[in-house]
Amino acid sequence: MTLPDPSFLLIQSLSGLTYAMFLFLIASGLSLIFGILRVLNFAHGSFYMVGAYLTYQFVSYFINSPAHFWWAVLFASVSTALIGGFIERLFLSRLYIREELNQLLFTYALVLILGDFAKIIWGTGQLSIPRPAILKGAVKILGQYFPEYNIFIIFLGLGIAFFFWIILKRTRWGRIIRAAALDREMLGALGINVRWLFTIVFTIGAWLAGLGGALVAPIAAIVPGMDVEIIINVFIVVVIGGLGSFWGTLLGALVLGQVISFGILVLPRLAIVFIYVLMTVVLIIRPWGLLGKPSQR
């Protein structure tokens, strides 16, 4: 096998990076929810799916205005956030006093319910929307073409990561969230309304997932089953990175993105086995992930 062309390697890794950004958006929401609420939200992939479908819907409402795609993204992700918050407040919160298994199963019930709602409202076929006009083209990198939209996603993902990092580190809300991840009861004792905190955190998590779905809508198929498809990869990301760790999620997403991107070249038919093996190995050797804390077992 001849030595691979450096421009090809770069392009391939940029592809992996793009996918990683989507994974990061969704996984960071999942990780946030787990870190604070201690709930592994199976339905996170469903929020992603809802974001994508709503984007499709809003694009058709706003079709006449110039920036219709961006409006759609905004409305879709915020709507998804509100749906998430609503579910948390009215349903999930009632299960907190029970064993964790109940909360987990409830999120699985949500997967089933939301999945079928999507089918009922938007049908069972595949939907798609075009890319936004200003990002339709491609840039030339080292002689190869790479889509502008993907470049945008990469920068946006990094931007959001940076933005969240600033919030967590520098603002009062960030401190509260980090404290809640460490010790919930203490936080309540300090006068913070923990119930509302949970709702807000869940809402933000849902927003991130919805945003991921909204942004993926122009480049992937909006189809029933996209919720189940993505959630497994998201689980792998948070396992590799560490459940509840912010940077871990980013790292996990980057790792998985590249593994998938190059895996299909190196082990074409076995890539799919390999990612699960990776997840297993991490769980066995270092269950708290690459950047998680052991105490969070």
Binding site: R98, I113, I284
Partner: protein, 300 residues
């Protein structure tokens, strides 16, 4: 006992369909009860039981088809394979707790799925393993139904004896408080592993039955929604009751059959039932029924 009589009489209804449904319920019921050994009795939430089900199913079918092994041997091999798989996987999983435990069971189960899915030459990949025939003396649906009934009754008897024994008592103690149990000198890991293996063996048996019943096997039965479905069956029926999972299996399979003839939105129904269950009937059907009968002293 009365249930067994009723079940034994079922084939006389002359309806192929009810024999099908009955066999299906028995197989899934056994699978669900084997899961409950881990879930309800030992307190281990395993998301990967489909792995042992699938290992048992493919072992039995492959031995019969490709190696022309006689059915009784293939059948026993399925149980052994299931137990072996559980041993290996369980060994790693029990070192973790709670959510990490569950995720590792899921991860392993997905590996098994991926291997079966990709190993085309052995398992037929996603095209599946088709043409699994009834074994020689069981060559009709009715006969196979009776065979299944016999196997399931025997298996349940064995499992029942186990959970009623001191072994079973230790398992529930572990469920309640693993640290305490460790403290009083019980090797918790050993017992958890044993529970895993027994669970895996019976899952393997139900898998073997499943393969023959359907005359075909597809990797889908190893994919994680299968693990989720059997988990739901156990909880629906009542995970703190012995027969609960069987009841759960019966209800789910029956409802699914009804619902899917009218609408395609079965997942919606199942999700709603699950949600209602979690909010209003945490003990499952059996839990609910028990709570309606306050005067059950002296009954078994």
């Amino acid at each position: 006992m009365i249930i067994i009589l009723l079940l034994a009489v079922l084939p006389l209804s002359e309806s192929r369909f009810y024999i099908f449904l009955g066999t299906d319920i028995l197989i899934m019921g056994l699978f669900a009860i084997s899961l409950n050994l881990l879930l309800g009795y030992t307190g281990l939430v395993s998301f990967g039981q489909a792995a042992y089900f699938g290992i048992g199913a493919y072992t039995c079918a492959l031995l019969m088809k490709k190696a022309s092994v006689a059915f009784p041997f293939a059948f026993v091999a399925a149980a052994v394979a299931g137990a072996l798989g559980a041993l290996i996987i369980g060994f790693f999983c029990i070192r973790l707790t709670k959510i990490y435990f569950s995720m590792l069971t899921l991860a392993f189960s997905q590996i098994v799925w991926a291997i079966v899915f990709k190993w085309n030459s052995l398992t037929g990949g996603d095209t599946g393993l088709i043409g699994i025939n009834f074994p020689e003396h069981l060559d009709s649906s009715t006969r196979f139904y009776y065979f299944t009934l016999g196997v399931v009754v025997a298996s349940l008897f064995i499992i029942r004896k186990m959970v009623d024994s001191p072994f079973g008592r230790i398992l529930t103690t572990i469920r309640e408080n693993p640290e305490r149990t460790e403290f009083i000198g019980v090797d918790v890991k050993l017992f958890q592993l044993l529970a895993f293996m027994i669970s895996g063996a019976f899952a393997g048996i139900s898998g073997a039955l499943f393969g023959i019943f359907n005359h075909s096997l597809f990797p889908d039965l190893l994919y994680w929604p299968m693990s989720a479905e059997v988990l739901i069956m156990a909880i629906l029926g009542g995970m703190y009751s012995f027969f609960g999972p069987l009841v759960g299996a019966a209800v789910i399979l029956y409802l699914r059959m009804l619902v899917t003839s009218y609408t395609q939105y079965w997942p919606l129904i199942m999700g709603t039932i699950l949600a209602l269950l979690l909010f209003f009937f945490p003990g499952g059907i059996m839990g609910f029924l028990r709570s309606q009968r306050p005067f059950n002293r002296g009954d078994r």
